[in-house]
């Protein structure tokens, strides 16, 4: 990165100093930024090279399906899309309950490329959207950092960090076609525009900021982070006594236009004036008007008493406003904070009240090593960078400090919010690293001549030492004289940077590049073996079942079934209806006699379970089973009880010692049905839970096995129709197996001798 500062050796210096210095620098910067963008894209392509161009995981499958719908049916159809193939029988108003930014972006790119007669498959656009935007994010980070410091190397460093840091790569590898793919770029770019608007007090930049804020709202639910951070920044500035017309202009422009823009999204609608998450922005908007008014009055009437009175009045109005807010909330006009927000303050909240939020692994609190894993050396450069911001403390530095504070807190509470922390870490770390490098990579030793004092070190504020008389305000001469120490520090930094690159590559390659639809394993000879059970089963469903066969599965697989198998599902990853999910949970965790009527009522044709026992695949349904039980228990506490699924000693077991409720549950039966017959007697083993299973497999009466994938990961069961002669399924199945019908003689009472 040091190359970004331009050449410094004497022969080239002559060449460069011919007034072309600036353009050479610009050219170098453009080349470096292009290289950074290329590196950012390239490092995200592991999964495409190793596997194929495929959509990853769960949510991206829905986004992909929605994009295909958009491309096929046009924007207005998409906007009004009612999807009857999910949440059967309710359906989902998909067009009004999604963030359309991502799909529209891909759609626009698709049509643009077609216009340029490059007909790229929509799947490839979706797969490569996230890497492409990561290049833009790197550029946005460069712009944002350049607003913080005069050293241009900081911006380039920030861009490089942003490009390859695993914290961001985790959500933007090729195929990870999720809202975050474009949202992080929008987040950073909106912040850049906000800083620019604030610095210049410009309506134009404020309006641009609002525009990109609107785009952000259209793209990701995480827009609330901007909605809260910008007002907070403004509030902190006011509290620091830094109110200015620049702030007033920037904020009011952003708020007025941005809120209007955000209300255009059907899913957001009137939320900006009706929910608590958006109230800080509105409150600060009002507060700024007051402060501006008071500033005006103060300039007109210079009276001390009046001022104090005004400040009391100001406090009063603020208090009344707050009370009004509380009152409106209590009255139900303004929705209180949502559950997901509460769980940001109390990490145990979700587990007790909303198990469905807690059941998602990315909503769990972050483990400490994750910070180092995702950010590596940036995490220790980060505080140093924040400290540098304190040293200068212009308005924009306050923003970094506020962002750093809140970003760190949120990242600590929820794993997925590591994503929002990453940009500020990159910016702050780049400021710190560039400060170090700028000081130590100076080839010339500083001269001790008084007259050269002003230009001694890079990055010192221009204000310093305007007048020789004010010695206390001038900066001391900072510089390194010893070549050895320069070489040492520069070498150490280079080493750290190299290790950082190494770490990022390693993490990306090993942790974040698995499509999770396709599993890879190694054969004994070291060659790659691909386990493709998911797609095998989904393809089977797609080709060999009725077009409208309803599939019941746990909600995790809803989007995949919709996307790959193209069949209607009962519940999916949208999780908008907790009761419906609980119904599925109840069917899975109840006895067959209870589950069958539920399935009949919901017209279920097939039931799909994920079972990893044969392969040792730990993300299977039996391991998720307790969440199903908990979510069902939340709605039917009398019928489903979590305690019943544990052994008397409180263990969660699947072998012969499993509790009766467990053994009779539909999920258990479906997972282990016929499994023991795969092994010699007494050898049946569940490789995930390390349990030896009983020889007798559970007996299923109301379902029949329809398909099991090669490695048994996906098992599909067909729900039997009602019996032709009106028997219940247990009796019918028992008859099929050749048992005689138990004679119900006993119930008639003892025989009595006829006396007649």
């Amino acid at each position: 990165m040091a190359a970004g500062k331009g050449a410094s050796s004497t022969p080239t210096e002559l060449l460069v100093s011919l007034g072309r210095n600036q353009s050479t620098k610009t050219l170098l910067k453009v080349i470096i930024l292009a290289l950074i963008a290329a590196a950012a894209v390239a490092s995200r392509l592991f999964s495409v090279i190793r596997f194929e161009s495929i959509i990853h995981e769960f949510d991206p499958w829905f986004n992909f399906r929605a994009t295909k719908y958009l491309v096929a049916n046009g924007f207005y159809q998409f906007w009004d899309w009612f999807d009857d193939r999910t949440w059967h029988p309710l359906g989902r108003v998909t067009g009004g309950t999604l963030y359309p930014g991502l799909m529209v972006t891909s759609g626009v790119i698709y049509h643009l490329l077609r216009f340029l007669t490059v007909p790229v498959d929509i799947r490839n656009i979706c797969v490569l959207l996230a890497p492409a935007f990561s290049g833009l994010t790197a550029y946005a980070a460069y712009l944002l950092t350049n607003e913080m410091t005069t050293s241009s190397s900081a911006g380039l460093l920030a861009a490089a960090f942003m490009g390859i840091t695993p914290g961001y790569i985790s959500r933007s590898v090729a195929g990870s076609y999720d809202n975050e793919a474009i949202a992080i770029f929008l987040l950073v770019f909106t912040f850049f525009l906000w800083i620019k608007a604030l610095k210049l007090g410009s309506v134009l930049w404020g309006a641009l900021c609002a525009l990109f804020y609107g785009y952000m709202v259209a793209s990701w639910g995480g827009y609330a982070f901007i909605t809260c951070l910008v007002p907070l920044h403004a509030f902190v500035l006011i509290c620091m006594g830094r109110f200015s017309m620049r702030l007033y202009v920037a904020y009011t422009t952003w708020y007025a236009l941005g809120t209007l823009a955000s209300m255009q999204i059907p899913f957001v609608g009137f939320l900006p004036v009706r929910t608590s998450e958006h109230m800080p922005a509105l409150g600060i908007f009002g507060f700024l008007q007051l402060v501006a008014f008071l500033e005006y009055v103060r300039s007109a009437i210079p009276s001390r008493q009046f001022q104090t009175f005004l400040y009391v009045g100001l406090g009063g109005i603020f208090g009344v406003g707050l009370l009004g807010l509380v009152g409106l909330t209590a009255g139900g006009y303004i929705a209180p904070w949502s559950g997901r927000f509460y769980s940001l303050w109390d990490t145990g909240y979700a587990k007790i009240h909303i198990p469905i939020i807690a059941s998602v692994s990315e909503h769990q609190p972050t483990a400490w090593p994750a910070f180092f894993f995702d950010l590596n050396m940036l995490i220790w450069l980060f505080p140093a960078g924040v400290y540098m911001c304190f040293q200068r403390l212009e308005d924009e530095h306050v923003f970094i400090i506020v962002y750093a504070l809140f970003g760190s807190y949120f990242a600590g509470v929820m794993v997925r919010l590591m994503l929002t922390l990453t940009p500020v870490v990159c910016v702050a770390a780049a400021i710190a690293a560039s400060q170090l490098l700028d000081a130590y990579l100076q080839y010339k030793s500083p001269e001790i001549v008084e007259s050269k004092e002003e230009e001694s070190a890079d990055g010192t504020p221009k204000k310093a030492s305007k007048q020789g008389s004010l010695r206390s305000t001038s900066q001391p001469v900072v510089g390194i004289y010893n070549v050895l120490s320069k070489a040492f520090i520069a070498g150490a930094m280079t080493l750290f940077l190299l290790i950082f690159v190494q770490h990022c590559t390693w993490v990306t390659s090993n942790a974040y590049s698995s499509p999770s639809v396709v599993l890879a394993s190694r054969m004994p000879d070291g060659s790659q073996h691909i386990i493709d059970d998911y797609r095998e089963a989904y393809q089977w469903l797609r080709q060999n079942t009725k077009e409208d066969a309803k599939i019941m599965s746990w909600w995790d697989y809803g989007y995949q079934i919709g996307g790959m198998a193209d069949r209607p599902t009962l519940v999916d990853n949208n999780t908008w209806n907790n009761t419906h999910i609980a119904t599925v949970g109840k069917a899975m965790s109840s006895r067959e006699e209870v589950a069958y009527p539920i399935m009949r009522q919901h017209e279920v044709d097939y039931v799909l379970v994920v079972f990893g026992g044969l392969l040792g695949y730990s993300g299977d349904d039996i391991n998720k089973f307790l969440w199903m039980v908990r979510i069902a228990e939340g709605i039917w506490p009398d019928e489903v009880k979590e305690r019943d699924f544990f052994t008397p000693r409180g263990e969660y077991k699947v072998d012969a010692e499993a509790s009766e409720t467990m053994k009779n549950s539909l999920m258990y039966k479906m997972s282990y049905h016929n499994y023991a017959s795969l092994f010699p007697p007494g050898q049946a083993q569940d490789r995930v839970r390390g349990a030896r299973l009983p020889d007798q497999s559970p007996i299923l009466n109301s379902l029949e096995e329809a398909y099991t994938s090669e490695n048994w990961i996906i098992r599909i069961y067909k729900v039997k129709d009602l019996d032709n002669v009106g028997r219940d399924h247990a009796a019918a199945a028992s008859f099929e197996r050749g048992h005689k019908k138990k004679k119900a003689i006993k119930k008639r009472g003892p025989r009595v001798l006829r006396v007649e």
Partner: protein, 386 residues
């Protein structure tokens, strides 16, 4: 030379063809004709649904007499079955020494010889025989051949809609039984593997379906040929469907020749899977995508003329095209495995000017973008000029 008669109706049981003899047959003269034809959808499984491990039996209904519009003096029908296990066949009254037809010899059934039979007579018979192999039916095959002169490449892509017309499963598919049968007795009526034998020098083969790459394929290349071995994602049983796509690239030198200003492309009409039990194709659409600006397209094929239903030459616009590429579309129907090696010869003219069109267009448009960007950067759009 045979030719389908215009008044044939596709839904009719009988189709008439006119055969022109090489030379007029004099009175009392003799001429030997060998006529071969194929039936599609002629086999029905019986029982229609069986257990996974059971053997599949098929029924073939036909007439013991050869269909003919002329009186036949002497004839004999031989039925060669894939195995000697033919538990049921229609027996008809014999003639001469044999009391009863057919005469069974190993896997061969012989009806006849019969005495004189009048024109259009038929004697319906049925044969039920063991056929423990898939009954593979391709209801639609779309085959694209894209010729690139700049790349020196011929790209093939084939999209199959494959169905199994054999016996259905009487109970649901059982993975345990399947795994066991794979181990003990691998012979099954389910389709579990296909082998494509491609021309020498084929490369970059792929096998995908609607949800992406199918990882269970193998591509072997040797000097003489390239073999693409595919396993469907799941074993295809009777009544099941498996649509898929295969594609590969090949060096154009193997297929394209230049002769006196004309280009001659010689490719197989179909290159479907080579299965021992055979494959039938109901509808085949072959599209030969020639370079942009190719003119005067003519084609000739060694496949039976009667199977080609229509052909057309259109334009299609894809990657960086300005006028569009010339496309020859040939629609054929009712093809069978045996026609795999039949050639399709396409001749066309392609001038150097047409070949240079694309680079020139790209170069000028890129230059135009640069120049307009440069002009835009010279434009001053700010409000104040101070």
């Amino acid at each position: 030379m045979s030719q389908a008669l215009a008044n044939n109706r596709l839904d009719s049981d009988t189709q008439f063809y006119r055969i022109r003899l090489p030379s007029p047959l004099p009175s009392k003269g003799q001429q030997t004709l060998g006529i071969s034809f194929y039936y599609l959808n002629a086999l029905k499984p019986l029982p229609a649904s069986i257990e996974q491990a059971d053997k599949q039996y098929l029924v073939y209904s036909f007439s013991a007499y050869c269909p003919s519009a002329y009186p036949t003096l002497k004839q004999k029908t031989e039925v060669k079955l894939p195995s000697s296990d033919a538990p049921e066949y229609t027996k008809i009254a014999g003639n001469g020494e044999t009391k009863e037809f057919p005469v069974k010899q190993g896997s061969k059934l012989t009806y006849g010889p019969f005495p004189e039979v009048s024109a259009g007579a038929s004697s319906p018979v049925k044969v039920r025989y063991e056929f423990n192999k898939p009954v593979t039916h391709v209801s639609q095959l779309e085959r694209d051949i894209e010729v690139s002169h700049w790349g020196g490449n011929v790209a093939f892509e084939e999209r199959y809609t494959l169905l199994h017309y054999g016996a259905n499963l009487s109970s649901q598919f059982s993975r345990v039984k399947w795994a066991q049968s794979q181990y003990f007795s691998p012979q099954t009526f389910a389709l579990k593997e296909m082998k494509f034998i491609l021309g020498a020098g084929s490369k970059d083969a792929y096998f995908t379906d609607v949800i992406g790459n199918v990882s269970t394929s193998r591509f072997r290349v040797s000097k003489r040929e390239a073999v693409l071995e595919l396993k469907p994602r799941y074993p295809v049983f009777g009544g099941w469907k498996y649509p898929f796509t295969v594609g590969w690239n090949a060096d154009s030198n193997n297929y394209l020749k230049k002769a006196d200003g004309k280009f001659l492309l010689n490719i197989p009409l179909i290159e479907g899977p080579k299965q021992a039990e055979g494959v039938e194709y109901e509808q085949v659409d072959v599209r030969v995508i020639l370079p942009e600006g190719a003119e005067n397209v003519k084609f000739y094929t060694t496949a039976p003329e009667s199977s080609i239903t229509s052909h057309s030459v259109d334009l299609v616009r894809t990657y960086l095209d300005t006028v569009g590429r010339t496309v020859l579309t040939i629609k054929a129907q009712n093809l069978v495995d045996e026609l795999r090696d039949r050639e399709l010869l396409v001749s066309y003219e392609y001038s150097t000017a047409a070949a240079l069109r694309k680079p020139v267009v790209i170069f000028t448009s890129t230059m135009a973008v640069f120049v307009s960007m440069w002009l835009l950067s010279k434009l001053n759009v700010s409000f104040s000029t101070k």
